[in-house]
Symmetry: C2
Subunit: 147 residues, 2 copies
């Protein structure tokens, strides 16, 4: 059971921006910070920007920042949005529907129910729950930026 790398990177970007809320952060800084692909991050930033969760300020001293309060950024909604193109099994909407049992199989409904339980659990949390009063996280995310 695997989330896409986009979800992983999305959550890192959001935590990074939440901790560095007083300024703008560039994609290069985030990529360097986590030692991850800049291309992947650009796609993630584009998605988040399109959804209005972050905003990109253009120009020489530009960068990214949150466009919403961390209290309003729900983890379930964000992960569901990013995972929308990933299908749990191939009979799910968007899958190849390559199974001959498709119309007779009860499993799809059961897996959908379990997936709903997964997202309902995440819906209880916001970005604020990850960063508020989390000094070790702040230290890690601010230290590298200052370096």
């Amino acid at each position: 059971m695997k989330l896409t790398v986009q979800s992983d990177y999305t959550l890192r970007v959001l935590m990074h921006l939440a901790v560095n809320s007083k300024g703008l952060v560039t994609i290069s800084e985030i990529a360097q910070h986590f030692d991850i692909s800049k291309n992947h991050l650009m796609k993630v930033a584009h998605q988040l920007s399109k959804r209005g969760v972050i905003e990109a300020v253009r120009g020489r001293s530009g960068g990214l920042r949150l466009a919403q309060s961390p209290n309003d950024i729900n983890l379930g909604n964000i992960i569901k949005f990013i995972e929308q193109s990933s299908v749990m099994v191939e009979c799910f909407p968007g899958g190849k529907n390559g199974c001959i049992l498709n119309n007779a199989c009860r499993l799809k409904g059961i897996l959908f129910e379990a997936q709903t339980a997964f997202f309902e659990c995440l819906n209880k949390y916001t970005l604020a729950d990850l960063v508020v009063d989390n000094s070790p996280l702040k230290q890690l995310l601010l230290e590298t930026n200052a370096a």
Copy 2:
């Protein structure tokens, strides 16, 4: 959010064996039936056999059959067993732990809680729930065997 192809194939094999409970079914028959890789199915059958869920009868007229009643084959347990080598995000046990936030990140706990909710939901169901009184499924799985 994706399950491994092994989980998908495992559930197809189990449904196939449950419906054809009066005889033995070969891996070749299942592969042909679903138009999927025989090699993948052999790995899946090996795992299920090791766990005591199915048994393999050797010899010329050999094949696979369920070693437990469909009522005793819990879907949550089976999928959890098959998915054990798949990590949701790389900071989960078995992952590469390649994130610098690893020790300060609250997300791991939240994702683990959501994963638990997913499996708890599946724990409510057994293989019997998929096959009992499911005539369309039986028709699909028996028809091809008779062909």
